[in-house]
């Protein structure tokens, strides 16, 4: 699989390292080249300095034709914009955005983007450890709806192989507004 990762923080770098070692083609972008120090010397993928919310930068990085796109920067909105560019302009099938604000995470899942929310993930990990009930906050959500104007999303075939859209969601997590 060809995987594009925007944001080479701890999660981004670990994902890049893991998938590179597993033999996938990995492209990782970050605004700061110092962020690439997190990558191991053995990393065989591409590390590109640039703004992942800029369509030109994404195209130059070769994001077009990727199977999976992950937006993992520290900024929720940068992730949202980057992910929507990937889905709408670059037509990448599997797009996941880290959105820590649970409300925004739910809203964007409804707009057709798989979302990953640290707030809910961490809280529910703690709840699980303590044997407490799940929080009901967004954690990892598959897209629950299609953007009203985006019929092509419905037509685009699901990516072959593993399907990150089908990630399990926390039991009891509310999916409706």
């Amino acid at each position: 699989m060809k995987i594009v990762i925007v944001g080479c923080g701890r999660v981004g770098a670990s994902a890049a390292e893991t998938w590179d070692r597993a033999g996938h083609e990995v492209v990782v972008l970050d605004l700061s080249s110092a962020a690439f120090d997190r990558l191991p010397g053995s990393f065989k993928g591409s590390a590109i300095r640039g703004d992942g919310t800029d369509e030109d930068v994404l195209r130059r990085a070769g994001a077009e034709g990727a199977d999976v796109f992950l937006a993992l920067t520290e900024g929720d909105n940068r992730n949202v914009m980057s992910a929507q560019l990937a889905a709408e302009a670059l037509k990448i099938g599997a797009v996941i955005a880290k959105i820590n604000d649970p409300l925004r995470a739910k809203a964007y899942a409804e707009l057709g983007i798989a979302t990953l929310s640290r707030t809910g993930l961490m809280l529910d990990a703690v709840n699980g450890y303590l044997g407490l009930p799940v929080s009901g906050l967004a954690t990892m959500q598959a897209p629950t709806g299609i953007h009203p104007g985006d019929h092509h999303l419905a037509e685009s075939p699901a990516p072959a192989g593993s399907d990150p859209m089908a990630a399990p969601r926390a039991a009891g997590a509310p999916m409706e507004a």
Binding site: D54, E55, G75, D76, N77, M81, Q84, L103, A107, E110
Partner: protein, 227 residues
């Protein structure tokens, strides 16, 4: 009308002020606390000192009953998210976003933002009005500067459009000889009908230039001096 303005920079501040003066109900969200306090001191307690990108605070600001949400922060990604949250989560009928990178306009429109204001494009448009874009292009000099090779691009308003080369008056020593259409160069034949977007290559003495300008570009002043 209830207008929710997000972003308390210069644009947001003056926007809120003007809207209040025209009698509208206004709420302004500004995440920087010091800036929020400063605005509140000046125009009253309409300021919500929180991040307008955060769903929770948008809700608290009354986004669900807003008639218009104007996202005027300095960051495109923030303005996009504010408008999308307003539109799809709070059912706001009209969303307006400030867009700094003109390349983002198409995406924003596609993603459902109702109205885009691009200061960059506006200023660019204004500058371009002052630059003569309808110019003849000098491709080179032939001989010892006696003859010039000139390219003219036919744009809307050119008097040559719809005419054949034979119908265009040319002074002695000046001729049109080649046509570039859609990237393909061909000799200019007597029956060719010129179209908008065509590039016509001419050869002639330097003094023919103003005449060529009048015939091919259509600047009235050049026609007057040239003809």
């Amino acid at each position: 009308m209830f207008v929710l303005v997000v972003g308390g920079g210069k644009v947001g501040y003056y926007l809120a002020k003007e809207l209040i003066d025209s009698g509208h109900e206004v709420a302004l969200m500004e995440k920087d606390e010091a800036r929020a306090r400063q605005i509140a001191d000046e125009i009253g307690s309409i300021v919500i000192p929180h991040d307008g990108c955060e769903g929770k605070y948008l809700g608290e600001a009354g986004c669900n009953r807003a008639d218009v949400v104007a996202a005027v922060t300095g960051d495109d990604e923030d303005n996009l998210v504010i408008c999308q949250m307003a539109k799809h989560h709070f059912d706001v009928p009209r969303t307006i976003a400030r867009v700094n990178n003109p390349k983002n306009e198409a995406l924003f429109r596609h993603l459902g933002v109702d109205e885009l204001i691009s200061p960059t494009r506006m200023i660019l448009g204004s500058i371009e009005q002052d630059i003569p874009v309808h110019e003849l292009l000098h491709l080179g000099a032939l001989g010892e500067g006696e003859l010039e090779l000139i390219e003219a691009r036919l744009q809307a308003g050119s008097p040559a459009i719809g005419r054949a080369p034979g119908d265009i008056d040319m002074p002695d020593g000046c001729s049109l000889f080649a046509l570039i259409r859609g990237g393909i160069a061909t000799p200019l034949r007597p029956d060719t009908v010129l179209q908008e977007g065509d590039k016509v290559i001419a050869i002639g003495k330097p003094e023919c230039e103003s005449f060529l300008h009048g015939q091919l570009i259509g600047d009235p002043q050049a026609t007057a001096t040239g003809g």
